[in-house]
């Protein structure tokens, strides 16, 4: 990919101190985010996908810290930032975030118009009251809120869940960010609203030239929005590739498992594929492939030695011994072999 890299993470390690123990949440992760792409980070809860993106904004909990590694943005190493004042310059204006629960990011005592106006004043050159108000209306229109002139005077509790999330997006946009991190923005919403929000994000990405990092636990959701998908397991990316490569030609057993457990692919009366057990404890040192204990077809080497990234294509790499030439041939599960023709099968 000859694309410009906007954010580059190199050998990042994040640890948390919990009751005299250390939890290794992000284990030596490297990832480049390209300008203008939408990158999806997919993983189970506890895989570290939220922690990973929080490091870009200095939002780690008090007991968490970056133990080593670099996060390069605009020639600056974000991992070195210590002071709140420095972070203020990054947050909002450069990198903005949308959370799962819109209520946590809205002020219940301020009209939503005032909240958007505040973001505009802080992060943009526009200052005149009239100009700001005009921008507020425009942002509300952009995120698809009907009657913006009237609704900008309303408060967060007067909006439905889907509409609230749109307001949060409008506030994020008003900060004029280059990168928009969406942390499970649709998980709490109905499927119909979820589809609308994802369509909206796609539209806004074009209009405002955003780079989107979309975090979710549901691979089904990201097919629409993601250009590239990174699958995270136990604090490490096990597979990274273009959306087509991840969906049509996945290589890591964990990606297989995530895909084939989707109920969309289930046939009535047949068992769905499930991932047994629970993710490994990150308090302990992990040897070999972290997914091995839950992988019924794990190889012996998976327990002994950590697999390197094997390159499948210039844009697609996976961390599994199955790609080693010495490995036996293991086919992906039946259910996900033909996702391209899913449409005909399904409807």
């Amino acid at each position: 990919m000859a694309q410009e890299i906007i954010l580059s993470v190199k050998d990042l390690n994040v640890k948390f101190r919990l009751r005299d123990q250390e939890l290794h949440a992000i284990r030596n992760v490297s990832l480049d985010v390209c300008k203008g792409e939408s990158l999806a980070i997919v993983g189970e809860s506890g895989s570290g996908k939220s922690v990973f993106t929080k490091t870009f904004m200095g939002l780690l909990d008090a007991n968490g810290f970056i133990s080593s590694g670099r996060i390069l943005y605009n020639g600056q190493d974000l991992a070195q930032l210590k002071k709140e004042k420095d972070w203020q310059k990054i947050r909002g204006g450069e990198i903005a975030m949308i959370m799962q629960d819109p209520m946590t990011s809205l002020n219940p005592l301020k009209s939503i118009g005032a909240q958007i106006a505040e973001a505009i004043r802080l992060h943009q050159e526009i200052q005149g009251a009239k100009e700001v108000q005009a921008r507020v209306i425009e942002y509300l229109k952009d995120v698809g809120i009907p009657e913006p002139e009237r609704r900008c005077r309303q408060f967060a509790h007067e909006f439905s869940g889907g509409m609230r999330q749109r307001v949060v997006i409008a506030i994020a946009l008003a900060c004029n960010p280059k990168i928009l991190i969406c942390d499970e923005p649709t998980t709490a919403l109905d499927v119909t609203i979820q589809a609308q929000i994802i369509d909206l994000l796609k539209e806004l990405k074009e209009k405002y030239h955003l780079t989107i990092v979309f975090i979710t636990h549901d691979l089904g959701v990201v097919a629409n929005i993601a250009d590239r998908v990174a699958v995270m397991y136990a604090g490490d990316f096990v597979e990274i590739g273009m959306a087509e490569e991840i969906f049509y030609d996945p290589k890591h057993p964990y990606t297989w498992a995530l895909l084939s457990s989707l109920p969309q692919l289930g046939q009535r009366g047949e068992e769905l594929f499930t991932i047994k057990g629970t993710p490994p404890s990150l308090f302990k040192k992990i040897t070999g492939d972290a997914f091995a204990p839950r992988n019924p077809r794990a190889l012996r080497i998976d327990y002994l030695q950590e697999p390197p990234y094997f390159e499948v294509s210039p844009t697609h790499k996976a961390k599994t011994w199955l790609l080693d030439p010495r490995a036996p041939k293991v086919d992906p599960p039946e259910a996900i072999r033909n996702l391209k023709n899913l449409e005909e099968v399904y409807r």
Binding site: L18, R19, K276, G277, T278, S281, A292, P293, R294, N295, P296, R297, A298, L299, R300, I301, D302, Y303, L304, Q305, W321, D324, R326, A327, P328
Partner: protein
């Protein structure tokens, strides 16, 4: 002399070599073996880290972490124990005895603190040391009794009020009526009508105190009564009594504790107030209220100011420590703060 340090480092070295050996051995496995399927145990994945959690255990552990509160608790316990054992210690005086000069038969008034009278004497010659401890005992007794009565009545009424929807209207109206009568008036009236005694004061304060508690519990119950886990219990046909004991009250432990801890100093404060307006305990049963009142009278006289300072100091320590202990305990009892 091989020190322990050497020994330890040797141990460490040995274990490292053992580990590397293991790794080397793993490399000695042939490729064919390495790339064969490993055995897989399905049950293994279901196990989670066992933690021996107990609610009260964690509560106490969290409380002990708050050093300030532990210190206050120790001081409070010391005061409490001392008030109980003080009369039996040697060389203690009767708090009501008016001390007189053995030769001239004049009461020893306003004697400053010294070797004979550790805290001095008051304006009629009674030993302030003895009176302060007796007074603290009386006041604490009143405080604890009122808090207990308040809690028992307040929780019972509050639970019924909050949980049984049919009773809500009735209870709310009763509450409105009772709450609109100024508590001070009730307190004064009762103290005025009945003979002043410790029992009277406890009765008068409990008469109004439970109302606030009941209202508070009712609001708490309303907040949690329709949570999913309570709906689930109702769907299982759990009788109301068990639902209250198992589902509702355990969730309120921390807030109830805080309120009780605060109502103790509040009751002592009321006692001070009642005494101040002249309706308090008889002079023969000194409470902290009476002592402070006596001290207040001579406050302007610098040489006798100790008569106000000592009882006020005790009152302050008691109030502040209950406040800090109550807050710390209520934080510790909230399972959100566990782990």
């Amino acid at each position: 002399m091989a020190s322990i340090k050497d020994k330890l480092s040797r141990n460490l070295e040995e274990s490292i070599t053992a580990q590397t050996e293991k790794e080397v051995r793993s490399r000695e496995l042939s490729d064919e073996e390495l790339f064969s399927f490993a055995e897989y145990d399905e049950k293994e994945g279901e196990k989670t880290g066992y933690s021996n959690y107990s609610y009260w255990g964690s509560t106490f552990r969290m409380f002990l972490k708050n050093k300030g509160a532990v210190l206050m608790l120790i001081i409070m316990l010391a005061i409490l124990i001392f008030t109980v054992i003080q009369p039996y210690l040697p060389g203690q005086m009767d708090p009501n005895l008016v001390n007189t000069d053995a030769e001239r038969f004049i009461p020893l008034r306003n004697v400053p603190p010294g070797a004979d009278f550790w805290f001095g004497t008051n304006s009629i010659g009674q030993d302030l040391w003895a009176r302060i401890w007796t007074g603290t005992r009386t006041s604490l007794f009143i405080g604890f009794s009122v808090a207990l009565v308040e809690a028992v009545i307040g929780i019972t009424v509050g639970v019924l009020w909050g949980y049984l929807r049919r009773l809500d209207f009735l209870f709310t109206e009763i509450y409105n009526v009772l709450d609109n009568i100024p508590h001070t008036i009730i307190l004064i009236l009762i103290a005025y009508i009945m003979t002043p005694s410790v029992k009277t004061l406890i009765f008068a304060m409990s008469l109004t105190g439970w109302i606030g508690m009941a209202r508070f519990i009712r609001n708490q119950i309303l907040i949690i009564r329709d949570r999913d886990y309570n709906l689930a219990s109702r769907c299982l046909g759990t009788p109301t009594y068990r639902l209250v004991m198992k589902n509702l009250l355990p969730y309120l432990v921390s807030v109830i504790m805080l309120r009780m801890a605060l109502s103790i100093p509040a009751a002592i404060g009321s006692e001070v107030f009642i005494t101040y307006i002249g309706l308090g305990l008889p002079a023969t049963t000194p409470g902290l209220g009476r002592l402070i009142e006596e001290g207040r009278v001579v406050m302007m006289n610098a040489s006798q100011r100790y008569q106000l300072i000592y009882p006020t100091l005790i009152l302050s320590i008691v109030t502040i420590s209950f406040y800090i202990i109550g807050n710390a305990f209520s934080d510790a009892a909230d399972p959100k703060n566990h782990r």
